[in-house]
């Protein structure tokens, strides 16, 4: 499959003759080049894990966090261009707190995922869009700007976000896991993976019996998968970053406790050695 657009890929507002928007597909490639990010839904919560490729030995361990809490009950792991990811996380946090202050309850994860997807999608469109902190009805605001831009000829260039996001949260309808792609598409999953090793990771996730697994066991499994898909030849070092939101964490999104994290890393390394030994 030729991935060269040849003239139809210069702008995100151009369709190709066979109905593709190449800029969005290229944005997805930026995500594919990033370290693997995994999310799984266990029976009592969500576990997120990131293979954080270390660019230089001078970096402090624990810096450049890839997993962020967006609200008390939910967290988001980002893959792709870090700066774009920062923007999405900031917007998501803002959406979550705004919903809470208007409606008086934590934002349902489904609603949050829809808003993230809506935001990501909007930024694949051409107009210059100004977002106010209090605005949460994008579509209404967008229609305003249609009139404005046509009258004032306010053109700005725009590219899609070069990052994909896995959003996991635990609300009163139980734990839920969503993934949002750079095109703005969002689906609910019981297991999701993006980044370099996603194919291998997905295969591994499918082998797991997630409905019987607690998050404690899930953490070990995620660590094993990430260590398993890490390519020793191409990428040197990586740091494993994990978070969870489950009954054990009191339905709050938080880093996996250090003790459990060490246990998971040890188990993952042991599993790797076992594989190598075969």
């Amino acid at each position: 499959m030729s991935s060269i657009g040849t003239g139809y890929d210069l702008s995100v507002t151009t369709f190709s003759p066979d109905g593709r928007v190449f800029q969005i597909e290229y944005a997805a490639k930026a995500v594919d080049n990033s370290g693997t990010v995994i999310g799984i839904k266990c029976k009592d919560g969500i576990v997120l894990g990131v293979e954080k490729l270390i660019a230089s030995k001078m970096m402090l361990p624990g810096s450049n966090r890839r997993i962020h809490s967006v609200h008390r009950h939910s967290g988001m792991a980002v893959a792709g261009l870090a700066a774009d990811g920062r923007q999405i996380v900031a917007r998501t946090k803002s959406e979550a707190t705004n919903y809470d202050s208007v409606y008086g309850e934590p934002i349902p994860v489904k609603e949050l995922a829809e808003r993230v997807a809506s935001y990501v999608h909007l930024c694949t469109l051409y107009w210059w869009l100004r977002f106010s902190e209090t605005d949460s009805h994008y579509h209404f605001k967008l229609y305003f700007f249609v009139f404005f831009t046509s009258i004032t000829y306010c053109w700005r260039f725009h590219r899609p976000f070069g990052c994909g996001v896995i959003l996991g949260g635990y609300d009163r309808d139980g734990p839920q896991l969503y993934m949002v792609e750079p095109s703005g598409v969002s689906y609910r999953y019981f297991g999701a993976a993006i980044g370099k090793g996603r194919q291998a990771a997905k295969t591994e996730i499918e082998k797991l019996k997630l409905t019987d697994m607690t998050c404690r066991q899930g953490v070990i499994e995620v660590a094993k998968i990430i260590y398993g898909v890490h390519d020793e030849a191409k990428d040197k070092d990586f740091e494993l970053e994990m978070s969870w939101v489950c009954d054990e964490s009191n339905r709050q999104h938080q880093k996996v406790p250090d003790g459990l994290l060490e246990e998971a890393k040890a188990a993952a390394k042991a599993a790797l050695e076992e594989m190598d030994a075969d």
């Binding site: 208007v102 409606y103 008086g104 309850e105 489904k110 829809e114």
Partner: protein, 251 residues
């Protein structure tokens, strides 16, 4: 009569409004008198307004203010329900009411009781009195802070939720946890009727709304069917009924 009757004074609902939770839902009750000064503008008004299928609100204070607040909240809740894909919770409805009441407290004069049923928390009652506080209670009767009213209300106004002050003692004695639906409705009916007997700003009929998992039931109890309390007189027939209608004059 010394007092001038000002028919253009703002319509106020002196009012008795009550919200009570029971085992399985809530019962909301209200009287039906809307007054302008001492004139009863509407003796059969409906003070219990629908916000969504499962959430209703009892209105008191300025009739206009409470109607406008209910209309806005109904509109927001409608949009919210569509976005959410399922019925809104009572807490969300009450919070929207509270935000409007609080953020516009300098302009509004309305006390509201939000009550309803949702699948997560069951039956709930939230009181949203004058300043825009929100308090969840097992039962709510009109205002909590009458002191504020005394300071800023002039004589022509009626205190929002005035009738309810007469009920605190009654509820202290009669309220109990975990009532059945019929017990709760009887309690509400009795309470409103007691308040009507003593409060000049409350009167007319008693309306109740019962909300539970099965849905909503509206009931109506006309004034002449309510029990008579201490020193209340039996209704008298009007002389017009006794003597018959007079013959039209021939000129």
């Amino acid at each position: 009569m010394d007092q001038k009757m000002d028919f253009n004074a703002p319509h106020s609902m002196g009012t008795t409004i009550i919200g009570v939770t029971y085992n399985g839902g809530v019962v909301l009750g209200a009287d039906s008198r809307t007054s302008t000064g001492v004139y009863v503008a509407n003796r059969a008004s409906d003070k219990i307004t629908q916000l969504t299928d499962n959430v209703y609100v009892c209105r008191s204070g300025s009739a206009a203010d409470s109607q406008v607040v209910s209309d806005y909240v109904r509109y927001f809740l409608h949009q919210h329900t569509i976005q959410l894909g399922q019925p809104a919770t009572v807490k969300v409805a009450a919070n929207l009411v509270r935000l409007l009441s609080y953020n516009n407290k300098n302009f509004l004069e309305t006390g509201l009781i939000v009550g309803g049923w949702d699948k997560y928390e069951g039956g709930q009652i939230y009181g949203v009195p004058l300043g825009g506080t929100i308090v969840q209670q097992p039962f709510a009767i009109g205002e909590m802070e009458d002191e504020i009213l005394k300071n800023h209300c002039s004589i022509e106004h009626c205190f929002p939720g005035s009738g309810s002050s007469y009920l605190y003692g009654f509820f202290d004695q009669a309220w109990k946890e975990g009532m059945t639906k019929d017990e709760a409705e009887d309690l509400v009916k009795k309470a409103v009727s007691l308040a009507i007997a003593r409060d000049g700003a409350s009167g007319g009929v008693v309306r109740t709304v019962i909300i539970n998992s099965e849905g909503v039931t509206r009931n109506f109890y006309p004034g002449d069917q309510l029990p008579l309390w201490h020193e209340e007189l039996e209704p008298q027939n009007s002389l017009l009924d006794i003597l018959g209608a007079p013959e039209p004059m021939n000129i």
